[in-house]
């Protein structure tokens, strides 16, 4: 029973999330109040937006360390285009396109040259963040028009944060893409066994490039939303965001070696992290100590995943047939081992 529950990652993440919510609502006043909840949401949804597309990258067996830098770059580009007199919405779209281009470069590098994704995106992390600082300068760009700020802080009917709607739309889209389309199944296939995917006629390279393009596009979207939320953009606005995004994915149960993961899990993972941040803030725990706690949670999440894999492998490979035991029905084996 316990083991089944442990091996269903989404269910476990959900219960961790609920436990967390109960814990914080006991120890901090007004935690479950409507205002607090909606403020909390707007603090971390951009991480979730990048995490759902990072899920594809990780499932296909890669990793994208450059999302934070792409985000900085897109933010700065949006600000500069707007400053040169272009409509802010158009500037935002152009910035998202730049994010897609940056992702395309990542994908092309990885696919064409066969560099490990870790090293390739480490290099582009350096390059993009440096570019963002070079073209953006050290000062922030601000003074966006009122109607643009709605994107970050606005609410539908005065209740539902717009950010939440955007996040929900993106998460649904990617969830559909992963579970219900050929593309999503191919991504999982590649993550499980790239060679056999290739020999089965799956266009491995194209699919891999598209995972990085999506990652870049969502980084661009996040930049636009964050720029609207803070009403300013800076060359270092995405600094170290990649760690948060990857943590959200892994807490959400995406296998870091590729081949497995769900969007629903990642959404819950994002909420676990976001709620943790807000709750710890309300308990007056400094951001540095929060960093430590996040690190511990990351380690725990992946450790439990690995234990699960280990257990399921044990069950598959070694039914306890041996000395003095002639045979056992599968029900008995299940009872003994599980």
């Amino acid at each position: 029973m316990v083991r089944k529950w442990l091996s269903n990652w989404t269910l476990m993440a959900l219960s961790v999330f609920l436990l967390e919510m109960i814990f914080f609502s006991i120890f901090t006043p007004h935690f479950l109040s409507f205002d607090n909840m909606s403020t909390m949401l707007t603090n971390f949804l951009v991480i979730g937006i990048m995490a759902v597309s990072m899920t594809f990258v990780i499932i296909s067996g890669g990793i994208d360390l450059s999302v934070g830098s792409i985000m900085s770059l897109c933010g700065v580009i949006m600000g500069l285009i707007w400053q040169s007199g272009v409509n802010i919405w158009l500037a935002g779209l152009l910035a998202i396109a730049v994010g897609g281009m940056a992702g395309f470069i990542n994908g092309l590098l990885i696919v064409r040259t066969g560099i490990q994704p870790l090293i390739a995106t480490l290099a582009t992390l350096f390059i993009y963040s440096s570019l963002a600082l070079v073209i953006g300068g050290e000062n922030s760009i601000s003074g966006f028009p009122e109607e643009f700020l709605v994107l970050g802080v606005g609410r539908l009917f005065g209740i539902i944060p717009l950010q939440l709607l955007i996040f929900a739309a993106i998460a649904l889209f990617f969830g559909f893409l992963l579970q219900k389309t050929v593309y999503g199944r191919f991504v999982t296939f590649i993550g499980n066994n790239e060679a056999s995917a290739f020999y089965s006629g799956v266009p491995v390279n194209t699919i891999k490039i598209w995972t990085y393009i999506c990652s870049g596009l969502t980084a661009g979207i996040s930049a636009v939303i964050l720029g609207s939320y803070f009403a300013s953009v800076r060359g270092d606005m995405g600094y170290q965001y990649e760690f948060l995004v990857i943590t959200a994915c892994l807490v959400g149960g995406v296998n870091v070696f590729g081949g497995a993961g769900t969007i629903s899990g990642v959404v819950i993972g994002t909420f676990i992290l976001g709620m943790l941040g807000q709750g710890l803030n309300m308990l007056n725990i400094s951001s540095v100590e929060q960093k430590v706690i996040t690190g511990v949670i990351l380690l725990l999440a992946v450790a439990i995943q690995q234990i699960n894999v280990y257990i399921s492998r044990q069950r598959r490979t070694s039914p306890p047939i041996g000395k003095g035991v002639k045979s056992k029905s599968s029900a008995e084996i299940d009872r003994v081992t599980g």
């Binding site: 990793i63 590098l109 040259t113 066969g114 560099i115 490990q116 870790l118 090293i119 390739a120 480490l122 290099a123 582009t124 992390l125 350096f126 390059i127 963040s129 440096s130 570019l131 600082l133 070079v134 760690f243 990857i246 943590t247 892994l250 870091v256 070696f257 400094s286 540095v288 100590e289 960093k291 430590v292 996040t294 690190g295 511990v296 990351l298 380690l299 992946v302 450790a303 690995q306 234990i307 280990y310």
Partner: protein, 319 residues
Amino acid sequence: MLWKIGNNRELSLFLFICLLLFVFAVTTPSMLAPGNVVDLLHNTVVICILTLGAIIVIIARGIDLSIGAIMGFVTLLVGKLAIAGWPLWAIILAGMMTGIIAGCVNGALVTLTKLPPIIATLGTLSIYSGAMYMVTEGQWVTNLPDSLLVLGSFQIFGVIPGRMAIMALILLGTILFLQVSVKGRHIYAVGNNPIATRLAGIKEKRVVFQTYVIAGLLSAIAGILYISYTGFSTPTTGIDMQLKAIAAAVIGGASVFGGRGTPFGGLLGSFLLVIIASSLVYYHLPAIWNQAAEGAIILIAVIVDSILAKQSSKKAEVV
């Protein structure tokens, strides 16, 4: 001929560095004045020792993202102890012990819990760097006593800076360890083929564990040399150093697929990063270009690698 040079990473990197230095010597002669060359070497000390640690882990197919944080933590700890009046030998011992313990934690996480190295050390990275703030409560560590600073400024025979001699000794030790000793060959063996290594009777996990401990120890030494030279440390010291060290390792010929990389290549890689960073100053370019240059060099190094690998596999097929 060219082919051979291309395939020998240390030689090709060495020639590339010579070419760069020649270009600098022609265009900005002041950069290669004797005093500046000594400065360049001084700047190489810390990053080179960190890179050696990174290389040893990478050879065994691991990766250690926490070495920068270990280094930063040790600088703060060492500074605090020096201010508290500890003698130099006790400070060095404490710093090195801290590095070893942190390395043991990494190694245990990677080998015992089967966490992927990048995740395990990403987790410990945030733990160690959080610990840095807790030790100092966000304050800088300055006003160090001379007892510690002497380590950064002493000179052998009044000529050779002591910390460079220490770096040379460590480099020599790593070369001997990795390329001559049996234990070092085990590390290469694990990186080339972990399963075959296990079947050959080598305790593969123990070897991997040791690589993380050595990386922890080397980062601690780098930390001690850092603070004894600069005379201060902040809670953000070392924050991105692990990325630089890994970059230097990759430029120096280490492969993240394991089994490849040499200490001498690590020295050349870190030296290349240092001369490029300081050349920006001489060409009056803003320092923020530094990262872009680093990224570009990593890319060039790995792309050249993969092209060479493809060609050599083609050659093998023909033969």
